[in-house]
């Protein structure tokens, strides 16, 4: 499964973020930070993606969207919470329409804090995510072998 960890594709969804983290996620893909040189490609299709980058907190209306995207992604998959709102709700934690961090909706593997999260932090989080992706795919392969 090394092909997955050598060229992981990411999908991005904006929960209820202020855009600050979203543009930093995009900035990480563009020439100055350029994660594409590592084979990381931003895709719009959940079924093509290995790493799910979520920005912003969870609310009543988007919780089902986040769960749906997560469910559509195929195993193994890793979720990275980008920015402090995605980690815990951040500055908006006590707004009436904010439930909390992304972990209220789906299991999160890597937390990347920051307001707005810096592209360096996103790259670091994705690299850590690749490690987890490798472990998960190894576990998946082992389970398959055991089953067979």
């Amino acid at each position: 499964m090394s092909s997955v960890s050598k060229s992981p594709w990411v999908i991005h969804y904006d929960g209820s973020s202020c855009n600050g983290c979203d543009i930093e996620v995009l900035a990480a893909l563009t020439p100055l930070y350029d994660v594409e040189r590592f084979g990381i490609i931003n895709t719009g299709n959940p079924k093509h993606a290995d790493i799910f980058l979520v920005t912003g907190s969870v609310n009543e209306q988007n919780i089902s969207v986040i769960k749906e995207i997560y469910d559509q992604m195929v195993e193994p998959k890793v979720v990275v919470a980008c920015g402090v709102c995605a980690c815990s709700g951040g500055i908006f934690h006590d707004c009436y329409n904010v439930i909390g961090g992304v972990d209220k909706a789906i299991p999160v593997d890597v937390y990347a804090p920051g307001c707005a999260v810096r592209p360096e932090a996103i790259i670091d989080a994705v690299v850590q995510g690749i490690g987890i992706l490798e472990e998960k795919s190894a576990a998946l392969a082992a389970a398959k072998k055991k089953g067979a």
């Binding site: 991005h12 969804y13 904006d14 929960g15 209820s16 973020s17 202020c18 855009n19 600050g20 983290c21 979203d22 543009i23 930093e24 996620v25 995009l26 900035a27 563009t30 020439p31 100055l32 895709t43 719009g44 959940p46 912003g56 907190s57 609310n59 209306q61 988007n62 969207v65 995207i69 500055i91 908006f92 006590d94 707004c95 009436y96 329409n97 904010v98 307001c115 707005a116 810096r118």
Partner: protein
């Protein structure tokens, strides 16, 4: 004519980083009706004025939107200053305008990149964002933040920019201008871009006025309205400010208006740097707004006019703070522009209004 079909668009869609849901009613390839649905990013931050005092709320205000974050902190501060009758030193006003115009350049470059991505010109997208990083470097050097700047306080600005640094910024912008011309050349002279955008999403001046559109979206339909010409704050000292207009009213005109506004912003910064006074940067006001006092204010954000309303209740918290952002004002125009277009043009038209959903929903 085929029978009408409803195609859902979004909330997770590759063309927009933000969630916006549209129900597109199509007959064959033609969109006949559009029903927008928003509310995915609604946080309810206007309610936070009850928990955060006027000085704390400035940090919430700039997180309304990460793209026009400086504009929102500026608009909020100006409104609360109006409410309490605070005088801001000229130098602080100039510095605010300089940062605000820098954020306009960064926002327009960001938008041009996303626009290029929407019509499938990925190299152009990358070049726009590469150039945008140079503006973010200026932000980082002057405030410490790339996206959220926290440079404004009620009564002035938090940080001064040294004169030598200001001249260095102008030099940097002049350097960017050359590279920017090359990028603009692709937008304005490339026939493939033109063939994708000319005549798409047309709105006449009458329609634009009837739909109360604002910002570059309206100016591309020849509506001569730009809040900067009201001469508030540092804008009052500009020699000559004319809004950039186009009478073509299509997606291509919207690209051209924004492209020209980037250069206009560089000129504004240059002019203000050349005559910046030295009367201090102001300090945090110690006043509290009076009970029942109201103030309203408009400010030109990169996406258009933003309306602010504040009401005090005699405490250190505001009774009500309201921001009406340009995107919510332009929603009616977007719905109108989409009606009758081809399905493949939907992403382009949505992008040319430059929607900022998190501003819109707060």
């Amino acid at each position: 004519m085929g029978k009408a079909t409803v195609i859902p668009f979004g909330p997770q869609h590759p063309v927009l980083p933000e969630p916006l849901h549209l129900d597109l009613v199509v007959e064959d390839e033609r969109v006949i009706e559009v029903i927008p649905q928003i509310g995915f990013i609604h946080r309810g931050l206007e309610k936070l004025v009850e928990k955060r005092d006027i000085h704390q709320f400035i940090y919430v205000a700039e997180r309304i939107c990460g793209i026009c974050s400086f504009g929102h902190s500026l608009g909020y501060a100006e409104t609360v200053e109006d409410l309490m009758g605070v005088e801001v030193p000229k130098r602080a006003q100039y510095l605010r305008v300089i940062w605000h115009e820098l954020s306009r350049i960064h926002s327009h470059l960001l938008w041009m990149g996303l626009g290029a991505d929407a019509f499938g010109f990925e190299a152009l997208f990358m070049h726009c964002w590469r150039l945008r990083e140079r503006i973010l470097d200026i932000f980082e050097a002057t405030t410490g933040g790339r996206v959220i700047l926290s440079a404004v306080n009620i009564g002035g600005v938090n940080r001064d920019i040294e004169d030598s640094e200001l001249y260095a910024i102008v030099d940097k912008l002049e350097g960017i201008r050359g590279e920017y011309h090359e990028i603009c050349n692709a937008f304005v002279n490339d026939y493939s871009v033109a063939s994708r955008l000319v005549g798409v999403g047309y709105l006449s001046q009458e329609e634009a006025e009837a739909l109360c559109m604002v910002g570059p979206f309206a100016r591309a339909s020849n509506v001569a309205y730009d809040c900067r010409m009201l001469g508030r704050g540092g804008y009052g000292d500009l020699e000559n400010f004319q809004p950039i207009l186009s009478d073509e009213g299509d997606c291509y005109a919207r690209v051209k208006v924004r492209a020209a506004e980037v250069e206009q912003s560089i000129d504004i910064i240059k002019e203000l740097v050349s005559k910046i006074p030295h009367d201090g940067i102001g300090e945090k006001s110690k006043l509290t707004p009076a009970d029942g006092a109201m103030a309203s204010n408009v400010l030109e954000q990169p996406r258009g006019e933003c309306y602010y309303f504040a009401r005090g209740n005699g405490t250190k918290n505001l009774d009500r703070m309201r921001m009406r952002t340009p995107t919510s004002q332009n929603l009616a125009g977007m719905v109108k522009a989409l009606e009758g277009c081809e399905l493949a043009d939907v992403p382009n038209i949505i992008l040319t209004i430059d929607p900022c959903i998190s501003c819109c929903e707060r």
